[in-house]
């Protein structure tokens, strides 16, 4: 029986060894550097936020954030591997380590900060949930939607806000829930639903993709707060700080008037604020684990926050969304960043 005892012992050792290796955790920044690229979770296709073009190049507001993070870490915005995720898969992809950061028009809520093991790094787009209807049904306000059938995507805060809104206004509705955006929109267009609901930015994005955008009306009511932003795994403060400051860098660059076009000459500026921002002065980047000129790299790659916004969803895009809340704090909006000093 000694043979057996030996085997059991060997098995036990094996178990301990397995348990030991699997629980070891490495820093995200080191993993990213070792891999040589950033694995960035994005939407599988939402015009203005993240969408691949016919050549497979990704564009959009969220995509520019991926590029900005890569520019900060590597000095090269091209070192990104885009991982398209559905609303349902996104958190699991982040939790499991398949992606390093999730930038997928995802709403920041307390439930997501507490029970999902992830943490939000900031708000890159202040949004709110709205409704879109076909003009032909003659509805002008969300208050007239009693008894309507509503198409909605699963696994979103949208699904919950919808239930709350109709309940609060003593109205009834029928939800039709799909996993993917495409099917949700197809069902709405086919007339299965009277209403399509998601964040207003999403509604505008869908509307502009239709052959006749004017047939559809986005109702004026905004029924929820939807602060969308990038999120990372909990327990890695260094990585969280990097993602956070990439966002702040974009905003601070806009505030300082540094743009993609003038960043080259700005590098020779004598203004102490600009010198600090672009890394000519001080050791601000080193402290968070990236190069000192990370802000300059980001702006060279994608421009400042205002440029990113206007190019993807604002006046420079087909979506033509008004900047509204997303203006800088000193221009009437609420986008505000702590100072770089």
């Amino acid at each position: 029986m000694t043979y057996l005892t030996k085997l059991v012992a060997a098995a036990a050792v094996g178990v301990i060894a397995l348990g030991g290796t699997a629980s070891a955790q490495t820093k995200t920044l080191d993993t990213v550097k070792q891999r040589g690229s950033l694995s960035c979770g994005v939407n599988i296709g939402l015009a203005g936020f993240s969408q691949p073009d016919d050549k497979g190049n990704w564009t959009g507001l969220d995509v520019d954030y991926c590029k900005a993070i890569a520019a900060a870490v590597f000095g090269d915005p091209g070192k990104v591997k885009y991982v398209p995720t559905t609303a349902k898969e996104r958190f699991t992809a982040l939790q499991s380590g398949e992606i390093d950061v999730l930038v997928r028009n995802t709403t920041w809520t307390i439930a997501r900060d507490s029970s999902l093991g992830l943490i939000f790094a900031g708000v890159n787009y202040y949004d709110g949930q709205g409704f879109m209807v076909k003009k032909s049904i003659g509805v002008k306000s969300a208050k007239e939607l009693n008894g309507a059938t509503v198409c909605v995507q699963t696994g979103t805060t949208t699904e919950l806000n919808l239930a709350d809104y109709f309940k609060a206004n003593n109205m009834t509705y029928k939800p039709v829930v799909f996993e993917k955006l495409d099917e949700t929109v197809q069902a709405y267009l086919a007339g299965r639903c009277d209403v399509y609901t998601t964040d207003q930015s999403g509604l505008y994005s869908i509307r502009v993709q239709q052959p006749k955008p004017d047939d559809h009306l986005v109702l004026p009511e905004i029924i929820s707060k939807e602060p969308l932003g990038p999120s990372v795994r909990q327990g890695d403060d260094q990585w969280l700080t990097i993602v956070k400051w990439v966002h702040y860098a974009l905003i601070n660059a806009e505030e300082a008037g540094v743009t993609q076009a003038n960043v080259g000459e700005m590098l020779n500026s004598t203004n102490p604020d600009i010198k600090r921002l672009l890394g000519k002065d001080g050791e601000l980047g080193k402290g968070i684990g990236v190069s000192n000129d990370f802000v300059a790299n980001i702006v060279k790659a994608v421009g400042n926050y205002g440029e990113v916004f206007e190019r993807n969803v604002g006046s420079g895009s087909r979506l033509k969304i008004d900047r509204g809340l997303n203006k800088l704090w000193n221009k009437g909006g609420i986008q505000y960043a702590p100072p770089l000093r």
Binding site: Y3, L4, L7, V8, A11, A12, G14, V15, L18, G19, A22, S23, Q25, A87, K88, F91, T92, Q95, A111, R112, S114, S115, L116, G117, I137, L145, N146, G147, A148, T149, C151, T154, G155, T156, E159, L160, L162, A163, D164, K167, Y173, K174, P175, V176, V177, F178, E179, K180, E183, T184, Q186, A187, A190, G191, R192, D194, R233, Q234, G235
Partner: protein, 398 residues
């Protein structure tokens, strides 16, 4: 010295013998396998739990009692956003069972018809059945579901231009609206007569079979049963002054209100799954019938049975023995394929539970584990039932 050596040698020999004895080896191998399996699963569970804890991800099953906060379009039991996640699970489970159960029935009927049609001596019918089988069997089920869903949706009119269905129903892009029966006082008696009718019909069937076996005399079982099952309750129903009202659907606001509705998602899923699985069942049925030796049919015809009778009384009962085992796996396939519902918005278990609930709670491990266990349980129950049925149909050797 010599004594010691020989003693050690003998001990080694017996030790070797002991380890080489087949019954000992058998035990050792089994024990080792069990230990390794236990160790593997322990590591898996322990590791998962530890990692979830470390990453600050909630675990456990406390969430099933929490308020769901979302609505579901089709629920067989009362459900709204103030109910719990646990209740949402039941809603999804019942929807899965509904579509799988009906799908199995429809697919079986359709499959038998087409399987028999493939063997028809009518050239056109046989070829049509072949085309059906070859086309349907070779297109992925998900595509078929999309086809049925979006083709049907696009073909149907909006609510305000609904097609009327005879008897007060309506058909539009939102589904098939039918009058809902509303029982009134006295309807319990009708229901009771229906129950009595069923029992009586079963009794007649058993009695008639026994009589035929003993005396050879036949009894018109079909007509008697129909009279008992339909005639009797209908008579009582009329005598009591029709205690059953109907609530008719009416166009109010955006949609029809009242009555009952079969949603397009449900219809498309049922249609898609049944048609797809029927093509496999048809092949199984054909193979089963062809597997019965030709002599059996010739003998049946020789003793004066008609074509239909020989098929019904001689060929099919024997073919069933070949058909049932592969038929079971088709039933299981259909049940598992019902999880494709999530693609076309039918609120089945996968859509409601491992879709919405998983996302609102973020507890992927628990939710997926439960889903897998449920599908496993449904499949095991189905196969247990089919195995029992198979034993009953097996050739009784006298």
């Amino acid at each position: 010295m010599a004594v010691v050596t020989s003693d050690r040698g003998r001990r080694q020999a017996t030790q070797a013998n002991f380890l080489y004895r087949p019954e000992v080896r058998q035990v050792i191998y089994q024990v080792v396998l069990v230990v390794l399996l236990v160790a593997f699963f322990y590591t898996l569970v322990h590791n998962t739990a530890a990692n979830l804890r470390k990453q600050n991800i909630a675990s456990g099953f406390d969430f099933v009692d929490r308020t769901a906060g979302f609505d579901v379009s089709q629920a067989l039991i009362a459900f709204d956003s103030s109910r719990t996640y646990g209740r949402a699970f039941l809603v999804g489970l019942l929807n899965t069972l509904l579509v799988a159960g009906l799908g199995v029935v429809v697919a079986t009927i359709l499959g038998f018809i087409i399987g028999i049609a493939r063997l028809s001596r009518n050239w056109l019918i046989a070829r049509l059945a072949t085309v059906y089988v070859e086309v349907i069997r070779n297109v992925p089920p998900l595509l078929q579901l999309f086809f049925w869903y979006f083709a049907v949706l696009k073909a149907l009119p909006p609510p305000r231009q609904s097609l009327s269905v005879p008897g007060g129903g309506f058909l539009n892009v939102r589904g098939l609206y039918l009058p809902a029966p509303v029982p009134e006082a006295g309807f319990e008696i009708v229901a009771l007569t229906m129950l009595i009718g069923i029992i009586a019909a079963a009794a007649v069937y058993v009695w008639a079979r026994r009589r035929q076996r003993l005396t050879g005399q036949q009894f018109p079982v079909l007509w008697t049963s129909l009279a008992l099952l339909i005639g009797l309750p209908l008579l009582v129903h009329l005598m009591l002054g029709s205690p059953l009202a109907f609530e008719y659907p009416e166009l109010k606001g955006f949609n029809f209100q009242g009555g009952m509705v079969l949603q397009p998602e449900f219809l498309a899923l049922l249609l898609g799954l049944s048609i797809y699985t029927a093509s496999y069942i048809a092949e199984i049925v054909r193979a089963g019938i062809q597997g019965v030796s030709k002599g059996q049919k010739e003998a049946a015809l020789a003793i004066g049975l008609s074509q239909g009778q020989s098929l019904r009384l001689v060929v099919i009962p024997q073919a069933m023995r070949i058909i049932i085992p592969p038929l079971t796996s088709q039933f299981l396939n259909l049940t598992k394929n019902s999880s494709l519902a999530v693609a076309i918005g039918y609120p089945d278990l996968v859509s409601v539970w491992s879709g919405t609930v998983l996302n609102q709670t973020g507890q992927a491990v628990e939710v997926i584990l439960v889903t897998m266990c449920v599908f496993l349980a449904i499949s095991l129950v189905t196969s247990a039932f089919m195995n029992w049925f198979n034993r009953r149909m097996a050739l009784v050797e006298r």
